[in-house]
Amino acid sequence: MSSPNPPTTAADALLRAGIDRSLRHPVMFFLTSGAAWLAVSIILGMVSSMKMHNPTFLDGPGWLTYGRIFPAHINTFIYGWGFQAAFAAIIWLMARLSRQECRNVGTILTAGHLWNLGVSLGVLGILSGRGTGMPWMEFPLFAWPIMLLSYLAIVVWSFIQFRLRPVGHTYISQWYLLAAIIWFPWIFLTANILLHFITGHPLMAAGINAWFRSALIFLFFTPVALGAAYYLVPKVTGRPVHSYSLAMLGFWSLAAIAPWAGMQKLIGTPIPYFLPYIGAAATILFFIPAVAAAANLIKTAIADGKVMAYSPTLRFTLAGIVALVILGFAAVFLNLPGSTLRMTQFSLTGYGFDILALYAFFSFVMFGAIYFIVPRVTRREWLSTRFIRWHFYLSIYGVIAVAFVALFGGLMQGAAQENWQEPWVNAMTQAYPYVITITIAWTFVLVSNFFFFLHLLLMWLRLGRRSAHPTLLGQDDHAFSAHGPDGESNDVETPAPAH
């Protein structure tokens, strides 16, 4: 039983426009530098994938070896692209939802540059052979305090804005964003202190590292993406969120389950016996928050099928939500200690799961948010429907191929590795065709992100269309002139389709 949508008043519109204007520089800074890191990361991913099936490719200097290129790939993806997209989403959504302009743009921008400095130095550290060798924490030791401090300087204002919000209802997105803001420093500090300062048994260090990776996905990227999706889907469709109780279930089950996950990666090693089993059970249970949120959002969206056809925001967001459902199923099927879990330990499957979570789910929702946010903060509309469409299709084909081939090819590879009577090299031979497919699929993703980055760069340079009408899919590419549709009033009251 929902009350009808209250109309947007002029006061609302001006308040929103003011908030958007105040955040223009930090949001665009995070998005463009994030997109640039994404392109770098995909190139590194392609190179490292190519080395899997062609070991002599670029085998000259030390910094081009697989042991450095692959960590550089995954770390630039996470800290270069993932976090910066998350920063943009967090500061913009929190300001909008707390109905306050951002008053700390200078600090945020400075901290943003500091973050980028930390990531750049960290990547150089990895490439020059000074990486720590701990997956997803490979940046040399100096990087993490820089990153933690700049993280705090970026998001603390969103926290304050939330505290100072006008009294009233706290929206679902705010739960998720606030949780992500708080959870990341916790997991980041815990992992870094336990791995660098209060070190214990090296096997437990590997376990803590596995926990950190899992927690980064489930306790940071997942809540940020869900917070954004819970904002975008009702916003674009204009419909209330399907079920408040389901949203509560999704949020609290995530908060209760996700911190336990991760150590199943060490099953079979002599760490305390219950840890891998608890990790496996918690990762399986991740299905519940994933599917609860996804069902809620999909039911909110599909009531109006037409919007999905033309809104780039909704299309990207829902693709990400579908990936979340797949991620939930993968979490169940890949973590059965009796059968599949062993096959994921040393095979491509773990990579497939990570890419499914980081690209197919998180990044797609972030793309959806970007297609929504950027026209608002730049006050220009997206230039080209075709670019958006290419970005969508090439990305989705590419990431489906990477994730599924890595998941299922990795299972075959894992089964071959388990067969101890065969030489280890046979397992790699078995994975050969899958690795080639992954390289080809990354090429698709690279092309798609070339268009995305170009498009975003043009928007950042304020070369977008000056128009009151949004760029929508499902229309002829040439329907718009560079200055908006002809012969139409650009009055606010004109019922333009939602964007």
């Binding site: 929902s2 426009a17 204009g238 219950f274 169940v332 200690p337």
Partner: protein, 260 residues
């Protein structure tokens, strides 16, 4: 629509239509947005509850599989033995050729007890004789056994005199003695190619116990008089497969060797 309360004292120079247009354009995206409505109150679908319930049961089964979480006494047996992988016979470690298995055992004992004086290359050094090509090492096994068990004083086979070598066998089992003898007779350039068996080593201990003064170092005179012979016992084919731990020949080495 222009802002709610246009200023009453609008400057004459401001073109109102233009200003309006600017606001409209700049706030256009924000103005066409829909508001986020109150949350829906739809009931949670039954299928969702059922599916989540099934997943919860799977997770419960995984936890149940883990046994009793903190009861280490029941989850880990004190005399832990490595699990036999699927498809392998429960034969323990893979059998090896006798010469290699005995020498591997002997090599560990040599590095613990002999290497300090005779060197890792067995060539001795200042104050210690070489084992490489020594008549008493590669010659009669009983000679070598007596020297290892009891120690040695006086001139050696070459006539040179070094210090007193103490006996080394206080903590050696027959397997250890057999191993170290096989090792020194087949290393450092020595290549007798034979295996000193466990039976021979056990006999060596017996012979040593029956000496006139058991435990005292032997000398060249006694060696030449009483111990210039091979140790009694059946020879062992150096290629026969034995268990590398017990050094006993593997009964069904044909089938056990086929898996490797």
């Amino acid at each position: 629509m222009p802002p709610a309360d246009p200023s009453p004292d609008l400057d004459e120079s401001i073109n109102v239509t233009q200003a309006h247009d600017r606001v409209v354009r700049e706030a256009a995206a924000a103005a066409r947005e829909k508001r986020i409505a109150d949350n829906g109150r739809e009931p949670t679908a039954l299928w969702l509850i059922v599916v989540c319930g099934i997943v919860a049961m799977i997770a419960g089964a995984v936890l149940g599989d883990a046994g009793r979480f903190f009861a280490y006494a029941t989850t880990f047996r004190p005399d832990y033995v490595r699990a036999v992988p699927e498809g392998a016979d429960a034969t323990g470690p893979e059998p090896r050729a006798a010469l290699a298995a005995f020498a591997a055992r002997g090599s560990r004992i040599y590095s613990a007890q002999c290497q300090g004086c005779h060197g890792s290359d067995g060539r001795g050094g200042s104050g210690y004789p070489t084992l490489s090509g020594s008549e008493w090492v590669i010659g009669d096994t009983q000679t070598l056994a007596m020297i290892i068990i009891n120690g040695m004083e006086g001139p050696i086979s070459t006539g040179e005199t070094y210090g007193v070598m103490p006996g080394q066998a206080t903590s050696m089992s027959p397997q250890d003695l057999a191993g170290v003898m096989t090792y020194v007779r087949n290393s450092f350039g020595n290549e007798t190619g034979d295996v000193t068996t466990i039976e021979m080593a056990a006999n060596a201990f017996e012979i040593s116990d029956n000496r006139d003064s058991p435990g005292a170092p032997v000398n060249a005179e006694e060696i030449r008089a009483a111990h210039a012979a091979m140790l009694p016992g059946d020879p062992l084919d150096p290629e026969i497969l034995v268990d590398p731990i017990s050094l006993e020949p593997v009964e069904d080495h044909e089938s056990a060797g086929a898996g490797s």
